[in-house]
Structure formats: structure tokens, C-alpha cells
Symmetry: C2
DNA sequence: CTGAAAGCGCTTACAG
DNA sequence: CTGAAAGCGCTTACAG
């Protein structure tokens, strides 16, 4: 036990009576070492409490086995759960997660890039963060793959994993139509984000097929307060809506709270449908009908895409879309049986 | 622009016509460089897109500026919000967060220690994770400070930051008593955790001062299902309770859902009080009376304690307790005015 | 103020 | 299978 607690391969080598290279080989999978040597080294390492310094190893190999994870908001329950699953999946593959919180300030990601590059991350995952061309270029220059989770950036040449958002929007349109709704409003996700746009587009297309248009469209910007205000606006109007598709669950909860505060009943007076199916959607207080983003599959696809690009830098970007089923609960009127 | 995108100080030195040491000094705060040299170097660095390799720097200085953050559960909203604030605070101090998800498996933390040490973290923050003596010893041996966030471990000699949990429990007892409740039950936090125990103890002591004892005590183990079942058990009894103090908000939401599912009204039939004051507690669906853990202050204390120990390893551990105010909302009967 | 040199803890050809 | 040696990209005494 040294004083400083900084045990090196050199210390182990001395104790085991072998060279430092031998020690290194014992801890390098696939390197050739005689069983006897390995045993001696392991014994020495154990009594000394030795573990190879990952930083030193990273310098030599050029692989840090660190993935930079950039996240903007954690108050929307979708993200904490995603982070949890992403971390587990990455840990299982022997990678480690360097976490960065980004504000939604457009320049923030550019600034974070400095740190990301300085720590030699092998890859980057962003969740709901906009990527500037500058960031894209710097990643490309540095040869660091990036995959966007739950947001796409068409034309950026970046990999992304999302649910089939437009299709999800269509499913909601069809379901609400089947439930007999005619005045269907949309409090959308932020229209600056692909997820917000695609879900809105899906709804519009779905309604169009029935010869309808949205009764109203308001950008809720993935924000609770904006969504609640939008709900009030929709119901205060002389021609109130009778069903609201909300761009994500996080806003939908605020919409339901807001509706109830106005004395309205969900779904008797207004049907509400969300998007995400966060755990809270199943809780008694909301019992929210929503489109489920299959988190495990999205996480697996994200990790798989990223690691594939790390292993083979020549591999091109890919945009993965995963089908999102509608989950029926109590916040929206059901179509009548047999109709 | 090199092919590999791996620009080194050497490259910058060549372009700027100075030595590699000079380049290093320009990027080392406090090192002495002539303004002219610095200008040349910065210009060269800029055109090349150079940033010092943090890993290499870490090897020399022995400071990685990485903090290991170990978290168990992210479904309780308290933790995501804590992580967000912790990350921001650490980023502001020039540190980076290596995130580890731990299951609550007692051996998990021991296993994570290998990675934590291998990556040469400068310090560790754990949130709701139990620390074995073995982990404590290894941290001590390696000279790595650790602070426990939102959990204490008396006698472990580890630093911790919690709210004044026992006092919080007392406040709830006094409040419920003042509201005229006599049959006060407790669905506690996990009794294996200091937070769970201290809040329970506070309630018991507070009730004892009025000559009362809890009407019932059930360990909810910080688990929604267990808490919901406990609520049913409490109300199904021949002698039902009329107020429930729940060990944290996360369980309290499940309790309220469960109560409502039984056709009971909150607070007319039963008062419910939580602990944490997560953002969701203020949402319309729950409007939960609760004890607020002052997150910003707890985060600041955690970061401050950790960094102080990093700067001065001789500094002893400290247990910080922060006062937690009761927040009155609609889920619990209020004491009558002027009584 | 500046450069040459040592060294942080490793991995990996290279000989043997 | 093994050791000596080079080298990853930096910081930091040490001379000048």
C-alpha cells in the first residue's frame, strides 16, 4: 500500500518479479502471456489494489471509451428515464458517460464541444439539442461520431434515432376521428424541432384524409406554462375545441391540470392525447392516452448506431425511425364498439 | 487541418514558430508568456482548431477535473432535478461529470469503484447509494473525497449533505396535530436509509410531545407500489387513519392515486403530506403539501464540501444539514385560523 | 520570458 | 512468451 494510493504497473511488476510490459499484457485482453506469469501478476495486482489507469491507456490507444451525453432538460420525465437506460446500455458495452447539461441557448452546444473534444470522447449522443453546422463540422474534423436522440436534423448528415413521429400524429388523428371528434386542436411541440414538426404534420395529414383541418394550432414549445395558456385560449374561445392532441406528455399534464382548473372534465368535455408515454402517464391522476415512444428500442438503436460508427468511421450516418403505438387510457373518448 | 483531426501542441508550435513548451504555457493559467508569444500561439491554435488534450494534462497534473456521480434511481423526480443542478454547478467550477447508474444491489457500488478509480476521478458524489466499508476504505486509500447527497451514513466518517430530516418530520407532526388529526399514520421511506429513518423519528418525536404515537407505521421503501398497497391497508382497516405522512413525494403521489381509486377524497377524508417538494408536487393533479428540500442549497453545499476536500485532503468529513420548510398546499387539512 | 528535457502511466511493435 | 524501448500529448522544473 503506497502512501499516495497511486499504484502503477511498475509497482506491480516489481512485486511480481516481471517487467512492466508483462503487467500491461495481463490487463490487455488478447495479449499473449504465460498462465504462470498472469497468475503472479494478478496476485501482485490484487495485494496492491492495482487497476490500470484508463487515462494513460486512452492516450496510447486513442480510445477513451468515454461517450459524451448532452442533455437539455430533465424536468420532462422522458429524459431522465432515457438517460438511465442509455447509461446502463453504455456501461454494459464498457463505455462511460460524460454528462453535459446544455441550456437551450443555441451557442451552448458549440461551447460544450470544446470540453467534449478536450476529453477525447469516442462519440457523442445529444438528446433534444440543436446542432449547428459548426458543431457538425468539428465532429467530422475530429472524426467523432454523433447521434441525435429523439430529434432529427434533416440535411445535416447526422445520425438520429426518433420514433415515427409523423405516423404517430396520424394515428392520433384517426383515433380522435373514430371517437367522433370533429373539432380537434393541436398544442404542438416546439416547431423549431423535428419532433414537434413531424407530429404536427402527421396530425394534419391524418385529418386531411377525412377532409378536415385542425380546429386550431398553437405552439406549446414543449413548455408547461405555454401549454396551459394554450389550453385556456382554446376553451375560452367562442368556438371551443372538443379534443386536444398535445405534442408531448409533459405538456399534456399541464393541459389537463389547466382544463380541470377551468371546471372541465377529461374526457367528458374534452379529450386529451399526449405523446411519449412517460411513466407518469399511467398514474391515476392523469391516466393519459398517448403515443408510446419505445424507449428501450430507441436506446438500443442509439447505442448500436453510435458504436457502429465508432468501430467503422467510414460508415455513413443513418436516421432510424421506430414505430410508436397508441396507448389507450382514460383521457380520451374511445370509439364506440362495432361502429 | 490535419487528416486525423488530432492536432497537438507540437503542430501549433511549428506553425507559430515557438517551442511546444511555449504553447503549453499559453494554455496554462498563471504561466509566464510574453504577450507577443501568446498572440502568435493563439492565432496558430485558432487556425488549427487546437485544444489541449485534457487526458494528457490530467496525467501530468494528477488532476482529472472529473467528478464521478453515482445515482440509483431516476424515476423519483427529485434526482433528475438534482443531477441537473449538480452538473451545472460542477460545470461552472470547471469540473466534468462522469455519470454512473447504480442498481440498489449492495455490491454494485463496489464494482463501480473500479471504474471510478481507473478514470482517476478527483472526487465522488453519490445520491441515495449505500456505501460499504470497503468502498470507504478504497476511497481513503486512493485519497479521493466522497460526499453523499441526500443520505447520511453515521459513523462512516463520510461527508454528507441532507435536509434536516428529523426536524422535517417533527414539523409534519405539529402541522397535522394542529389540523386536528389524531390518527396519524406514516408510510415511511426505506428504513435502511438515514433519510427514511430520520423523517420517521421526527414524526414519532413530534407526536410523542402531544402524548401520541403514530396510528400505524408501514415501510414504503421509497417504492410506489409498496406505498399504494400500504395506503389501501391503512384505509381498509377497521380503524382507518385520517392523515398520512408519506416518506417522500414520489410515494405520496402513488398514495393519493390509490386513495382516490378507493373513492376517498384528499384532504376531506384523508390528509396527505409528502417530503421533497419536487416540481410535480405543485402540479394541479396533486397539489401536495410537503416538506421542501432546498435543492439549490443542498447542491451548493455538496459541491462546496467536495471541492474543499479536493483542495485540502487533510480536511475532515462533514455532515451538512439544511433546514427544510413545510410547504402548505391543498392535500392536507389546514389548522383553523385563530385557534 | 523561453527552449530542451524529463516524466506522467500506460500500450505496442520489435527482438530475442 | 518476454523485456527493453519508443512514444501518446502534455506540464513543469531547470538553465539560460
Amino acid at each position: 500500500m503506497s502512501i499516495a494510493g497511486r499504484i502503477t504497473a511498475q509497482d506491480v511488476a516489481k512485486l511480481a518479479g516481471v517487467s512492466q510490459s508483462a503487467v500491461s499484457r495481463v490487463f490487455t485482453p488478447g495479449a499473449s502471456v504465460a498462465p504462470k506469469t498472469a497468475a503472479k501478476v494478478r496476485a501482485a495486482a490484487k495485494t496492491l489494489g492495482y487497476r490500470p489507469n484508463s487515462l494513460a491507456r486512452a492516450m496510447i490507444t486513442g480510445k477513451s471509451r468515454i461517450i459524451g451525453l448532452v442533455v437539455a432538460y430533465l424536468d420532462n420525465q422522458f429524459y431522465p428515464v432515457a438517460i438511465e437506460k442509455l447509461s446502463h446500455a453504455l456501461q454494459a458495452k464498457g463505455y462511460h458517460v460524460l454528462l453535459f447539461m446544455a441550456s437551450n441557448d443555441p451557442g451552448e452546444m458549440d461551447r460544450l464541444m470544446d470540453d467534449l473534444l478536450a476529453y477525447q470522447v469516442d462519440g457523442i449522443i445529444t438528446a433534444s439539442v440543436a446542432i449547428s453546422n459548426d458543431v457538425t463540422r468539428r465532429c467530422a474534423d475530429a472524426g467523432i461520431p454523433l447521434v441525435m436522440f429523439n430529434r432529427g436534423q434533416p440535411g445535416s448528415g447526422l445520425s438520429s434515432v426518433t420514433s415515427a413521429n409523423a405516423l404517430g400524429g396520424r394515428k392520433v388523428a384517426e383515433f380522435l376521428l373514430a371517437g367522433g371528434h370533429q373539432r380537434i386542436a393541436h398544442i404542438s411541440g416546439w416547431q423549431g424541432a423535428s419532433t414537434g414538426r413531424d407530429r404536427a404534420r402527421g396530425l394534419i395529414e391524418g385529418l386531411a384524409e377525412a377532409g378536415l383541418a385542425p380546429h386550431a394550432m398553437i405552439d406549446g414549445m414543449f413548455n408547461r406554462d405555454k401549454a396551459a395558456a394554450a389550453a385556456r385560449e382554446l376553451m375560452d374561445s367562442p368556438d371551443p375545441t372538443d379534443a386536444i392532441f398535445v405534442g408531448n406528455d409533459h405538456m399534456a399534464f399541464a393541459v389537463i391540470d389547466s382544463l380541470r382548473a377551468m371546471g372541465l372534465r377529461v374526457p367528458q368535455d374534452v379529450s386529451v392525447v399526449g405523446y411519449d408515454d412517460v411513466p407518469m402517464a399511467a398514474w391515476g391522476a392523469y391516466d393519459l392516452t398517448t403515443v408510446r415512444q419505445p424507449l428501450v428500442r430507441m436506446v438500443d438503436a442509439t447505442v448500436e448506431t453510435l458504436l457502429a460508427q465508432i468501430d467503422d468511421p467510414a460508415r455513413g450516418a443513418q436516421a432510424v425511425e421506430i414505430d410508436a403505438p397508441l396507448i389507450l387510457r382514460g383521457s380520451a373518448r374511445l370509439p364506440e364498439e362495432g361502429t
